[in-house]
Symmetry: C2
Subunit: 206 residues, 2 copies
């Protein structure tokens, strides 16, 4: 693949993303994207074998950017609560910009073993890994009690994911105020939860 082609691919993704972010995957057609680019619909097929692959690539771009920013935030100084709250803030900024992509996730659920779902799953796993690593670090530093990091982190992760999911499942476009309220609640939850881990040892019920 020549660099020329790569540049064009990136241009296509960029253009498509603008529509995806505004209207969602379902309400964006291939021919609309082509029109935006000033090329024929069929020509798009030269660069992307089908719509799904364009959607996947676009989402992959966003997610890799997201993970990069999140990684950077985590590398900055602060204790466990600071870092987790920082992650929430990164999430909030991306959610504001790209919530349409998040909302449309259920729309794509039917595809099951989809490339797109795989990308989202991987991003989710990566976030979990990052959180777990921070939990371990905090334990080593003595910030929180030493214990199984998975057991310590899972309830929080599940809660945060579920709270996020509330917004995906309300099919109305959420307003900025209620989005902000959600993330604020998440931050409050983190503060109390992490404080709890400072003197709480989960019981070993194997």
């Amino acid at each position: 693949m020549k660099p020329d082609t790569v540049i064009k691919e990136e241009l296509i993704i960029e253009t498509a993303l603008r529509r995806f972010v505004h209207f969602g995957f379902g309400k964006t057609t291939f021919s609309e994207i082509a029109k935006d680019l000033g090329i024929s619909q069929q020509n798009l097929y030269y660069y992307f074998p089908d719509k799904k692959s364009l959607v996947s690539k676009a989402v992959a771009n966003v997610m890799s950017c997201f993970l990069e920013v999140m990684q950077a935030k985590i590398n900055s100084t602060g204790d466990l609560a600071d870092k987790l709250v920082g992650m929430i803030e990164v999430k909030e900024s991306f959610f504001e910009k790209y919530f349409m992509l998040a909302v449309e996730r259920p729309y794509e659920v039917q595809y099951e073993r989809d490339e797109l779902l795989e990308i989202l799953r991987k991003a989710e796993n990566r976030q979990t890994e990052l959180v777990l690593a921070e939990f371990e670090r905090a334990m080593k530093k003595g910030e929180i009690k030493k214990q199984d990091p998975v057991k310590a982190a899972t309830p929080l992760l599940k809660a945060l994911t579920a709270m996020q999911g509330d917004y995906r499942n309300m099919h109305v476009v959420p307003d900025h105020k209620s989005i902000h309220a959600l993330f604020d609640t998440q931050k409050a939850l983190i503060a109390i939860y992490v404080s709890g881990l400072k003197n709480f040892q989960a019981p070993c019920n194997n």
Copy 2:
């Protein structure tokens, strides 16, 4: 209203509930309920002016029973975490029995200012009140740091509600194992969260 009629109404509700629990509101017809009772469909209209009111009364019965059991559980001895975990256990036992009613909540959402939604909202509010009362009690007893009980309880309540919502929104019938896992996670969350409130003072950001 004569006691005779009341008894019959209760019988109808009982019979209808058996179908609602198994098939849901949407897939239970008025004539089926009538057939179960050995009366004509039109006769049902003598006791209930429409289907909605039968559904509402049935759900109200379940909810009042639920709140009664929950109240009893809370009155039993134990610290804040014990009581909250007890509440989760009550929730689990009712969810196992009546999850179909919970699942169908979205189905009824369209009715907006519905009697049924009002009943569910009231039950939800009552639970919140119970939890808040326990938070205040725990503060007075010195179990957790003194602070605004609403601010202390809200993140936990939101998290628990959202986690519950996950199951309402998966349109597949959930299996017992994953239901149990959900409630287990909720219990773990509570344990750590309450522990956190023992030495955590939420910042006053007015």
